[in-house]
């Protein structure tokens, strides 16, 4: 006599499986939402900080040059935000509405920071090192991934270097204006360094050649490190 099929057991197994399966989906969604909120909250904080800097700068006028050290301000925050946003883009997809919104907000924050740096440059006579980078995720830019690696490495190596990365195809008027002001063509990857446009892949060495100050920064850092170790 063969063991009978117990329909009840099949059903119970199905219910438990469905609960685990959809439970995993719910937990995953919850974590994704938590991440999106974290990015939102970082963006809000950054927005407030930039606004505060702008206000402080407007209030103090020229004397603000001493009060505000803008050489590395927001650079780390923008960098961390970029990594998190890129992670979410990989996970949820480039078409995800939430991701696109966060990306737009991030692009605006970058432009605001860029404008603030421009003000500092004009009023304080400093020459900050900035790179504006245009990329595309639409599969039409084979070298964008490599360029991304180069810029990430440079960003880690030189905190003084301010890199503003924009998705060339992002549907945001401010980004479109940025493109037209800089006169960037649709030949990607595109870099804007000191108001000059460069198209195609540029290696670390290429960029260091374009910006000789980077080597000076490295030399200064190495000298400081040697001095510290000698003192010990």
């Amino acid at each position: 006599m063969r063991a009978k099929i117990e329909t009840k057991k099949y059903v119970i197994a199905f219910v438990i499986t469905a609960m685990v399966f959809f439970g995993a989906l719910l937990v995953s969604n919850r974590f994704q939402n938590k991440r999106l909120s974290e990015i939102k909250s970082i963006e809000n904080k950054l927005s407030l900080d930039i606004l505060s800097s702008e206000t402080q700068f407007a209030l103090l006028k020229e004397s603000s040059c001493k009060a505000i050290d803008h050489s590395t301000a927001f650079s780390e925050e923008l960098n961390s935000l970029a990594q998190k946003l890129s992670y979410m883009e990989d996970n949820l997809g480039e078409e995800n509405a939430e991701v696109i919104n966060l990306k737009k907000y991030y692009s605006l924050l970058q432009i605001k920071d860029y404008l603030l740096v421009a003000q500092v440059k004009e009023k304080c006579g400093v020459k900050p090192i900035t790179i504006i980078y245009f990329y595309s995720n639409n599969g039409d830019c084979t070298d964008c991934k490599r360029e991304g690696f180069v810029l990430t490495k440079l960003r880690e190596e030189y905190p003084e270097l301010r890199i503003y990365a924009f998705d060339y195809n992002l549907d945001l008027s401010a980004v479109k204006t940025m493109k037209s002001i800089q006169g960037v063509r649709n030949t990607l990857p595109a870099l804007v360094i000191w108001e000059e446009n460069y198209y195609g892949f540029k290696s670390t060495e290429d960029i260091e050649k374009i910006i000789p100050q980077l080597k000076k920064l490295r030399a200064a850092r190495e000298k400081a490190a040697t001095a510290t170790s000698t003192r010990k």
Binding site: M1, R2, I5, F21, E38, T204
Partner: protein, 413 residues
Amino acid sequence: MIETFFDSILYTFLFVTLYLEVFFLITFFEERLKLAVKSSSAKLSYYPSTTIIVPCWNEEKTVSKTVDSLLGLHYPKDRLQIFIIDDGSTDSTWEVIQKFADNPQIKLFKKENGGKHTAVNLGIENSTSELIGCLDADSFVDKNALHEIARAFNEDLHMMAATPVLIVHEPKTILQKMQKTEYHTGTFLKRMLSPLDAINVTPGPFSIFRREVFEKIGLYKNAHNTEDMEFALRMQSHHMRIRNVHTALVHTTAPGTLYKLYRQRLRWTYGTMKNTLDYRFMIFRREYGILGMITLPLFFFGIFIFLYNFGFIAFHTARSVIDKAIQISTVGLSFAFPRFDPFFFNTDFMAILSYVFLGLGLVIIWNGTKLAEGRFRPSMGIFYYIFLYGIVAPIWFTRAVINLIFSSGTKWR
């Protein structure tokens, strides 16, 4: 769009896999009291007469140890006969087994090479006992194995065949250690299939049958080099009960090199698919119970599901490796220690499902090890099984599918 299509197939497969794991774990919960039964040397009310057939083909190195283990069984000597059948060996197997010629429990046979099933059939034809079994000449029985199986036959008069728990004998290489854990999971699965009357193979090492099985359904026949599977399916098609006796332990030698493992598994996988196709009339038929509804579809379609899932993982792994290679070739190696940020801890749907599968897999390994060895002991075999099996198994699965499509068979060795 294409990605969504492939993801949907993957999720369906994962749901089915999860369903089966849950189903077996529910069965485990139902069976937990019976699983606590340990091997006992208490005398049996009746000792059925038994013949154990040892088919040999070039087994000069291991056959003596196999026969010695049979002679050491805790079972009345006058109730146990051993047939050693030399299936046309070309080495000195025949000379080696001559040392057993004078043992009244043992009979020696020599025949022309005709394949394992012909040797076993010769033994069956010459036996007169109530129980008939087989033991491959590279396997060794635990001294209580037959005693436990005879007890199970005494307790269940409808039971027509009994299969033991197989344990990998003295694993030395990484692959053998991996197989040891694999066998433990197999132990769990077979024990769960047993009360469901859904066992689809009576393995060569020490499966024991009532004589009437052969009288009713005939002897072994040539079946894609996996005659033990064909025979089990033939029994199932006649609604004959096959049970797994988890207290009967048999140690078997596992292939130590990748090539030998590949040959063996290719034969098993191809044989599984071909035999399942030969008995396809049982698939999804309620009258064949869980065998028809779960075991046969699982063992046939499971291979395709496994390969699909493997393909998915391999595709994503390859993509990550290519990205990493591009990164290294562009900016060189970075030796900076990555900072831990919980934000980047992978919690997407696939990752959470993987954690669930890993957890359930560990529960199965834990309980399979307990069944086979009496208690759970962490070992490197578990690590090798989790991280290595998924990489090596696709090799023979893929080849078996190719052989199936192009109808090219497999060889024994």
